[in-house]
């Protein structure tokens, strides 16, 4: 270090540039905030899109689970009941499965009362998109779109949704978020679909689906957006067994029959197994019976929440998705960070029946720090309502 007048600052002194980059590339997402406070070069690197793509290329990005959690209500044990009486407000929690780190993302100023109820989450190229939902106080549908950039740790406001929709399906592909189905402000089930382009910050309407699909669920499989189940305006709650499938390349829908158990609510409950087949999170692991929902974290790993029995506190689990159908998933319970188990993280209590009639909700999504898409049969970000039916 005899030469003090260094014109070009190395990322890491004494290490060649590419090796310094290698080290920083391997930093887990949770360490990025500290790293960006080290010096200017680190900050500029870590905040750059190039760094994200570099990490992604070498497979160092990873999926983090984003959960909509009740955050008010003190640090009581989560038995749900308390939350129903006091009205909880909802925040965004991030769980990084690799470091086992729990974290919370501050919300935008536009949502002083917490996230809109039933808002949808989508992970997209290192960003988390929050769209729609109901105002937590007035229960009016909102059309706001907010994008959280994991690299910057900041929110930006996107272009509002083109129409008031609730309980629609979402899926993301490249830098676009697809939405379809749900219902309008008069509770008419929808056949419509839209795509939001994050780069252009613009919405474009898709062709119509084959049928109305209120309370449907979205999944991205390979180059297709699957809009699963749902019901029509005239047959509330009778969930359909079919799916409309949108192909990103052809821009067309096709309809696929018998992919979902008729009558079963698909909200936050659809998982794509390794064979690319749709199945339900419920019953994947017999020890997690109630209110099960989850998401895939890439590399065949899954993140699941649910209770062991009616009334039991909610637990969080990670496991490996097994290929053979009869083996299902082996889940390991994970430690929940302080403040992430208490306040009724588990927005949904064990007692499903009791809450059926209430506006009871929780959302979950693969928020992606990463949107790695390998193996084709990966479930895209899922989000939204779990099991609870509205009204």
């Amino acid at each position: 270090m005899e030469n003090r007048s260094v014109e070009f600052t190395e990322l890491i002194p004494r290490l060649p540039e590419e090796l310094g980059l290698e080290c920083l590339t391997r930093l887990p997402y949770a360490a990025h905030r500290v790293a960006s406070g080290v010096c200017r070069r680190w900050r500029d690197l870590i905040r750059s899109r190039d760094f994200y793509y570099h990490r992604k290329q070498f497979r160092y990005t990873r999926k983090v689970a984003c959960l909509v959690q009740a955050v008010s209500g003190g640090s009581k044990e989560s038995d749900g009941r308390k939350l129903v009486c006091g009205s909880p407000s909802y925040g965004l929690t991030v769980f990084d499965p690799v470091g086992g780190v729990w974290d919370r993302i501050d919300l935008v100023d536009e949502y002083p009362n917490g996230l809109p109820l039933f808002c949808q989450l989508a992970g997209c190229e290192g960003k988390l998109v929050v769209m729609g939902g109901w105002d937590p106080v007035s229960y009016d549908p909102v059309t706001g779109v907010f994008v959280f950039d994991f690299a910057l740790g900041r929110w930006t406001r996107g272009k509002d949704m083109p129409a008031k929709m609730s309980f629609f399906a979402v899926g993301s592909y490249a830098d676009r978020v697809y939405v379809a189905g749900g219902h309008d402000e008069n509770k008419n089930a929808l056949r419509t679909g839209w795509v939001y382009d994050l780069t252009q910050d613009d919405w474009t309407e898709l062709p119509r689906m084959s049928r109305e699909r209120d309370e449907c669920e979205g999944a991205v499989i390979g180059e297709e957006f699957w809009v699963v189940s749902g019901y029509g305006t005239d047959n509330q709650g009778s969930f359909d067994g079919s799916a409309d499938v949108y192909n990103f390349i052809s821009g067309q829908w096709r309809r696929v029959e018998r992919v979902w158990e008729p009558g079963r609510c698909p909200r936050s409950n659809v998982v794509v197994d390794r064979d690319g087949k749709l199945t339900s999170w419920s019953g994947l692991d017999p020890s997690v019976k109630v209110g099960t929902c989850g998401l895939t974290l890439g590399d065949g790993r899954v993140f699941v929440t649910g209770s062991e029995y009616q009334g039991a506190p909610n637990g969080f689990y990670v496991g490996e998705m097994v290929i053979k159908e009869d083996e299902k998933v082996k889940l390991d319970k994970i430690q929940v960070g302080d403040g992430f188990s208490g306040n009724g993280v588990v927005v949904r209590s064990g007692d499903e029946q009791q809450h059926r009639s209430r506006r009871w909700w929780r959302g979950i999504g693969v928020g992606e720090e990463d949107t790695e898409r390998d193996g084709g049969a990966e479930l895209g970000p899922t989000s939204g309502l779990l099991g609870g039916t509205q009204g």
């Binding site: 090796l19 290698e22 391997r26 887990p28 949770a30 500290v34 080290v38």
Partner: protein, 180 residues
Amino acid sequence: MSSSIASSSSSSSSSSKKEKKISLKTSDGEVFEVEEPVAMQLEIVRSFFADNEDVTEQTVMPLPNVSTAAMHGILEYCRAHEEFRRRMPEAAPEEEVRAFEAGYVDRKSNEELKEMILAANYLNISKLLDFLTGVAAKRIENKSVEYVRAFFGVENDFTPEEEANLRREYEWAFEGVDED
């Protein structure tokens, strides 16, 4: 680059014969006699022997960018992995590998770690390089900004004002870090 590994003589018959050794000379002049399969994990050595037909068993390959200390660390790692491979050619005994690697890095100081990253890069041992850079990243996880600067010897070039802003913006990132 030819893909015929170390040509005909070595790979097929080495197991039956007395183990062949490769001589490697570090920057400070020490000569290491390294078992062939271990030395061949060093890509620079492998290609040297694959590309030069006139090298013999007596050839001492100079490695001017590698210190004796770094060489010891590198060979320890490569020998352990060769051993794992010999015992379980199909799939490495994951738990044992992990236990070995954990103990291995525990004994390395930050300076040693950096020196070995440089050496592993020069010797082109992608697996070790991968492992070491991962270790370096791991060492600064959950640490304070000050710790990370000290660890890598990075100078703080933020103005006091910028630093104050960063702290405000990332307040929570400055809390709950491990003790340095």
